[in-house]
Amino acid sequence: MNETLGEFEQLVLFAVLRLGDDAYGRAIRRELLDRAGRDASAGAVFTTLERLELRGLVESDYGDPTPERGGRRKRFYRLRPEGKRALARSFDALSRMARGLKPKLETS
């Protein structure tokens, strides 16, 4: 199965991977903002994760309701093996394509 990933999907998957047990919407958005400079809306992140879950790349389950969320539960995500493979493949492809080109990007 050849899963191709969009750029934003890759960023989201990396964020989930990095956050480990703490990967829920709010934290993922902060990660995207801090590391990638991407100010993504909650809706966009959710929609993306939902789509990735449909494709079997991530899975999710619920935490406990907390008062600061207005009594709503957190939804935690983590990568399934298929997700890890897809992300690795995309990243490898990208790095191979980019190898040695960094200096050329820095002109002008």
Partner: protein
């Protein structure tokens, strides 16, 4: 500081997401909201939440993958917002089309809303009376006299009060005027004498103080109620005015009440009310018809029952007082009828015309939409192929036309607010007085309804069109049978538009011609270079001819000495201003007339200079002069109509007449002259019987307080000099109603002028819209037939031939529209008959002019498309295929 995110934003978010998604996203946002709240405060946090919610919703809308949890409601909202987005994008891509359509709708909606705000104020807005539908007016009727209704006389009114059981309360009113002195400049106020019972009958009460009580009538003259206007302008809105003593006609009255600002009685506006105390003379005067009688129906009594009882009472009174009441009936009429009666037809016609303009606008937009729809046949075919049902396609099209209507409605409402301001400026006084015209919540609701209706109507034709089985087949849509069918729909719509325009133009033509006839009536007196005004002579010092005639003689002499004044005169009442009342006339040597057969003559006193100053020619005999004094034989001047009616084959000069049934020697008046007929009561009534008396000789009639000056230049330039002369003679005499005599006529034609102005502008709008419609139709059909024209040209047809083809299709559609419009216009014209003066509803000129106007516009609209069609380059056009 708010601890919770903005509710509305949350609700919107809930609409966009469901179930798990909603919980996760709303939870995330709320969590972060609390952080932002800590760091940046409530306002910033709310702003932040709104932005995030909005972005999340947009992300959902543009999300490529459908959610597993999506429900059918989601689907509906998503697709509706999709429709809106798609429609908006489509409209934005064709700005010319969009602007044309929106402007068309705005024009239609603005007219309708502006006019309906007037119509609503005049016809429908509740009157300021409690249980308005229980309030009636009572009239005497005398069908034989030519006056359908007349004011009841005091004795008849008193008998009604005694006998009638159908009313819980009956009250009488009569006009009243008084000079208010002691509060700055002396000022003349108009108002009513009003019985205490009238307050209960009308269901009114002062905003401040108390109404009149029966004891006020017994006690006599001591009290008064003032209007809100006088309260603000003359008493500085001082609440302590109640209980204060004021001077009216140099008698003291205590103010007991101030009416509210919305208070209105039928007829003119009132600034003053005093208790109605009948004098002994009035109680006896069964033939003096000057009251207005209001009544409130008793609980459970229907107006028909009340009418029945009044018929019986009138029959009794006719038997009891045959001399006065032999032919008198009684009429019970809802008060609204009295107030809106005269303007009702006019308002309905005008409102109907405005609705027609809107309808034409709708037709135009429908047509434009269909034309566009043909261009979108491919799109529709794709939609169907992908499984879009009829309802789905209809919704898309209706969404688009509703978008157009909403934009048009918003622009139209703005225009309407401006329009109402303009209307208020040109409104005839009769309407302006009773109508409190404004764009309020009701009008706003009407506008919203009209807007949605417009969207539906304008969208309907394209929908029906798109539903046709052949429309939107994927192949060759517009050149096969569906092309023929759209052409037919569009031609029918344009013909309908032409027909509606014909109706408006015929209406405008009729009113314009009627107005022209009215304006060209010779009133029988001069209106140019004439200044008129009124002096208010206090009755105490100027109550008899011996007292007023020296004043009038001195005043006219002073005025004639003013540079720029050619002649000056005075009379009891100016022509066209007020009838002033008439008297039964008895001729010397002839038997007394039978009851109800009397000749009534409008009677006025005049100074010697009046006829010269007013430009009324003395055709026989002489005018009054200084030899006609209080002691010389009484003399009078009759008008031509009176002379011809009374002495058909004799010379009236030297004949004697009297207003008394049993004249003494002093009651006989010798005719010394015949004056040319002048329009005295109304401009349209040529046959008023009138007689003038010398102002030095009749102590029982109204003094000649209306002054007219013949000036050599602009009459208003003399106004301040005239005022100066009055003041120099007696500083306590107020001057009122200064205006050029031309305004006497202008006031008479104000309403017809207003009507013809409005309907003509509607007609112009309709004509413009029809031109757009015809142009659009031809542009499209010539573009669609480019290939055909190219073939014809290539086969040797002359360009003239092509032009002929285009014009003939324009002529076919226009002729159909003219025929249908002619029939509709004939129906509409009949309902306008009462608005017309000296013009038949089926006036050939108006119909011909309307048709000619349309024909010219149709030809003009066809020119451009025809020229374009004739210039088709055969080679280019054929290669294109």
């Amino acid at each position: 500081m708010p601890r919770r995110p903005p509710r509305i934003a949350q609700a919107l978010l809930r609409l966009a997401y469901r179930g798990d998604a909603r919980e996760a996203i709303a939870g995330d946002l709320e969590e972060e909201f609390q952080e932002v709240l800590q760091q940046r405060g409530g306002f910033q946090a709310r702003l932040w939440y709104w932005r995030q919610a909005f972005r999340s919703i947009v992300a959902r809308r543009s999300g490529e993958a459908p959610s597993v949890t999506q429900t059918s409601r989601d689907a509906f909202i998503t697709s509706l917002s999709g429709d809106i987005k798609f429609g908006t994008r489509l409209l934005a891509r064709t700005p010319g089309y969009t602007i044309l359509a929106v402007a068309t709708i705005a024009l239609g909606i603005a007219t309708t809303v502006a006019i309906s705000s007037v119509a609503y104020a005049v016809l429908l807005r509740p009157l300021p009376y409690a249980d308005e539908d229980r309030v009636v007016m009572l009239w005497e009727t005398d069908p034989a006299s030519g006056y359908p209704t007349k004011g009841p006389s005091p004795p008849n009114y008193l008998d009604w009060v005694q006998r009638a059981k159908s009313f819980s309360s009956i009250g009488a009113l009569a006009p009243y005027e008084a000079s208010l002195t002691g509060a700055g400049e002396p000022v003349r106020l108009t108002g009513r004498r009003i019985t205490a019972s009238s307050f209960a009958a009308l269901g009114i009460a002062p905003a401040l103080g108390r109404p009149f009580l029966a004891t006020d009538e017994r006690a006599g003259n001591g009290v008064a109620i003032i209007s809100h206007r006088v309260w603000t302008t003359h008493f500085g809105s001082d609440p302590t005015v109640v209980g204060r003593t004021i001077q009216l006609n140099n008698t003291s009255r205590v103010v007991v009440g101030v009416m509210g600002s919305d208070f209105r009685l039928p007829g003119r506006q009132d600034d003053l009310m005093v208790p109605f105390v009948f004098s002994d003379g009035e109680r006896q005067a069964r033939g003096s018809h000057f009251l207005e009688v209001v009544a409130r129906l008793a609980p459970g009594v229907q107006i028909e029952q009340a009418q029945g009882e009044m018929d019986a009472i009138a029959a009794d009174l006719a038997l009891a007082y045959p001399r006065w009441n032999a032919k008198e009936g009684a009429l019970v009429e809802p008060i609204r009828q009295q107030i809106v009666g005269d303007v009702r037809t006019a308002m309905l016609v005008i409102t109907g015309a405005a609705a027609l303009v809107l309808l034409i606008a709708c037709v135009n937009v429908a047509n434009l939409q269909i034309v566009r729809g043909v261009g979108r046949a491919g799109e529709m075919a794709v939609r169907r192929a992908l499984g879009a049902g009829r309802v789905r396609i209809a919704r898309q099209l209706l969404t688009e036309s509703t978008l157009l209507a909403l934009a048009g409605g918003a622009a139209g409402l703005l225009l309407a607010v401006v329009g109402v301001e303009i209307l208020r400026g040109v409104l005839p006084p009769a309407l302006a007085d009773i109508a409190d015209i404004r764009v309020d919540r009701t009008i706003f609701a009407i506008a919203a309804l009209v807007t949605l209706g417009t969207g539906l109507i304008a969208g309907l034709a394209p929908v029906l069109h798109a539903w046709q089985p052949t429309a939107g087949s994927m192949s060759e849509g517009h050149r096969t049978s569906s092309g023929v069918r759209t052409a037919r729909t569009r031609h029918t719509l344009v013909a309908a538009e032409v027909a509606l325009a014909v109706v408006l133009l015929v209406g405008a033509g009729l009113l314009l011609r009627s107005f022209a006839r009215l304006s060209s009536i010779d009133p029988g007196f001069a209106t140019s270079n004439r200044l008129t005004f009124r002096v208010e002579l206090p009755r105490g010092r100027y109550g008899t001819p011996a007292k007023w005639s020296p004043f009038m003689d001195a005043l006219t002499a002073r005025l004639e000495a003013v540079p720029g004044v050619i002649a000056a005169g005075g009379t009891s009442w100016l022509p066209l201003a007020d009838s002033g009342g008439s008297n039964g006339l008895y001729v010397e040597g002839r038997p007394l007339p039978q009851p109800g057969e009397s000749t009534f003559a409008i009677y006025r006193l005049a100074t010697p200079g009046y006829f010269r100053a007013m430009g009324i020619t003395i055709v026989r005999g002489r005018a009054f002069d200084s030899t006609d004094t209080a002691t010389s034989p009484r003399v009078g001047i009759v008008n031509e109509t009176l002379a011809a009616r009374t002495w058909p084959n004799e010379d009236p000069i030297g004949k004697r007449v009297s207003f008394s049934r049993n004249p003494t020697e002093r009651d006989w008046i010798t005719v010394i002259g015949v004056a040319r007929d002048a329009r005295i009561t109304t401009l349209t009534d040529p046959a008023a019987i009138a007689m003038y008396g010398a102002h030095t000789q009749d102590p029982y009639w109204f003094p000649p307080t209306h002054i007219v000056l013949h000036t050599s230049g602009d009459p208003l330039a003399i106004a301040s000099a005239a005022r100066e002369q009055v003041r120099a003679l007696d500083a306590s005499v107020p001057v009122a109603d200064i205006k050029p005599a031309g305004e006497l006529v202008a006031e008479q034609v104000a309403e017809p002028r207003f009507q013809s102005l409005l309907i003509t502008s509607f007609g112009a709008a309709a004509l413009a819209l029809a031109a757009v419609g015809i142009y659009g139709m031809l542009s499209f059909s010539t573009a669609a037939r480019r290939r055909e024209f190219a073939v014809r040209l290539a086969l040797g047809a002359a360009p003239r031939e092509i032009v002929r083809i285009v014009f003939s299709s324009a002529i076919r559609v226009t002729t159909a529209g003219l025929l249908a419009g002619g029939v509709l216009a004939a129906i509409a014209a009949r309902s306008m008959a009462t608005l017309l003066y000296d013009i038949r509803p089926f006036d050939g000129v108006a119909f011909a002019a309307a048709c000619a106007g349309i024909a010219v516009i149709a030809v003009a609209a066809a020119c451009m498309p025809a020229r374009r069609a004739a210039r088709v380059d055969p080679a280019g056009a054929l290669k294109l295929e």
